[in-house]
Symmetry: C2
Subunit: 343 residues, 2 copies
């Protein structure tokens, strides 16, 4: 069972592996090579993953067989363990608890060569529904306080398998960065009696300089103070604190916005590695007027980031106004027919 | 002039380049190659850097000529500009100010092939004195609220030049991570009326499981909840909030502790890339009972870190007890004679 430990100075919780801990020689200097070889996420290899917890099968085939469009399985090497109690306890002045949680993989497509950005909008929508369905199911477990959805695309972004997939981690604590957003947006709300994200939507729509794209439900923009070059957020226009409480039109709109952004980024940045994360409200809380879920997209363009870890202080070499202009003006096929991306 | 911009949700300041902003094609995918070629930090090439702001010349040679042991020059491509006022202002709902600050390079040795860890202890002590002397000089400028000393060693840690060097950035704001340490340690002090770092020193010395090494003035340890495998802190035993206010014995002891740790890390982790940062109190504040300066050492062993940027949530595959044991038990020549490292 992994351990969750709390830093006694700043209060940040960290997962510490205990069972399969890495020794010095395990940290390979070699670049990850992901091409070729056996892929456990490809159709026909369903028995090579843990049994599925969710799959969409338009033709109604049997569990853990071929015929799915999206498939969700537990991570074979989970960061957290699903069984047991939290057992919060002290270790002298320190605090820890059992590393209880769920760690799942959302296989986004049966096609090995596809990426989320090249999938048809309808297929991206299916992936978003899988995110929602898993959150709705897992939040019934009251041990879980937060459910993270994220995606590492490309070795530079930490992906170790090539086949397009996202990940879900259900946690007994709320991650630090989400707490900061919750607290910061609450302070803003106390002062202004308005949601800071709603205010950002208004100001950015009016000025337009940091806007990358827009559809009926979403604004895609470069944030005013981004940490990373070409960092981009997708914000729903309608105020809602929890991703999973959205109407079906919202997932349709987000699929469109996501595909549009990923195509633009692929064009402008030459198929970059990227991380994508959904920031949403903690799962055991009521709807919040001050918090507003959104998607953050962070292409991995620079390695110069070690220092930033030590200080929380970032230098961004590309002003967001310029990044937004490049992405906004990229020539992409906006009305790509669904068939085009099929293998 | 670069801009400092504040994130409106969580209040984090970011440096945004404006003059030489990077376009998409400027983000190279190629690994940094640093071997061979011209080195602006080598003796004889003093005219290729901006004029020095400090140098130690045992034989009293002229400025910007050969004969130095440590040399400090302004960064040729500074992240911040030194001239002008802060000019804090709003941009609608957003906040910004001019990117005023100093950005200097501390060239740690004239020997191109040396590393900080292979230098004799006395030479490392000189480097620490250079850090101190520059902080003492720069803090007279009341525009600067914080002075960061850090080191990127190796391309994986963000270094772009091979010749051993550290960096200094003087800032008109306090970086977020330092604010968190200041606030966290203050809360602890209010509750316990003791410094949290002093308490950590006591508990870790007693238990010993996370101790890497110890000398008269310093304890070197793996922290209880480290974000990264083999992350290690060096903490002065005597309470002091500001690095630059230490006695000369302290720099002597830190030089010993640093060399010892770097030799152990080089042995155990095969000369890893690393980041090193000095966390110290903001420069315009009086001595603090609740804050305690220290050094954080973070080897760059894994690329799997993109996700962590999006959430502030870390998975560490090596328990600190095991990391400390590897480092503690490494066989190194502890009484290396000063001559041995000379070229």
């Amino acid at each position: 069972m992994p351990e969750l430990r709390k830093d006694p100075i700043i209060g940040r919780w960290v997962i510490i592996s205990t069972d399969r801990s890495k020794r010095p020689a395990d940290f390979s200097r070699e670049p990850v090579t992901m091409k070729g070889g056996f892929c456990p996420f490809c159709p026909g290899n369903e028995s090579k993953t843990p049994p599925e917890v969710l799959a969409y099968r338009p033709n109604g085939a049997a569990r853990d067989t071929d015929g799915w469009t999206v498939r969700v399985v537990p991570n074979k090497f989970p960061a957290l363990g699903i069984e047991g109690g939290l057992n919060r306890q002290a270790e002298g002045m320190f605090d820890k608890m059992n590393g209880i949680g769920a760690h799942e993989v959302i296989i986004e497509t049966p096609q090995h060569e596809a990426t989320l950005g090249t999938l048809p909008e309808k297929r991206i929508e299916d992936v978003l529904w899988a995110f929602r369905d898993r959150i709705v199911d897992l939040k019934k477990d009251r041990r879980f306080k937060y459910i993270l959805i994220f995606k590492n695309h490309g070795p530079l972004a930490g992906a170790t398998l090539e086949h397009a997939h996202a990940q879900l981690i259900a946690l007994p604590i709320v991650p630090k960065y989400v707490i900061e957003e919750l607290e910061g947006s609450k302070q803003y709300y106390i002062y202004k009696e308005r949601c800071v994200f709603c205010d950002i939507l208004r100001q950015e729509t009016e000025s337009g300089v940091r806007v990358v794209g827009e559809n009926e439900g979403f604004l895609t923009l470069a944030p005013y103070a981004p940490r990373f070059p070409f960092e981009t957020w997708i914000i729903p226009k309608r105020h809602e604190s929890a991703f999973e409480n959205s109407s079906s039109q919202v997932y349709e709109g987000l699929a469109k916005a996501l595909k549009n952004l990923l195509m633009r980024a692929d064009k402008v940045l030459d198929n970059p590695a990227y991380n994508l994360v959904i920031h949403t409200a903690p799962v055991q809380q009521a709807a919040m007027d001050h918090y507003h879920w959104h998607v953050e997209f962070m292409p991995r363009l620079t390695k110069i980031a070690g220092f930033e870890w030590g200080t929380g202080f970032y230098q961004n070499p590309t002003p967001p106004e310029e990044a937004a202009k490049y992405l906004r003006e990229a020539k992409i096929e906006t009305a790509q027919p669904e068939m085009a991306a099929k293998s």
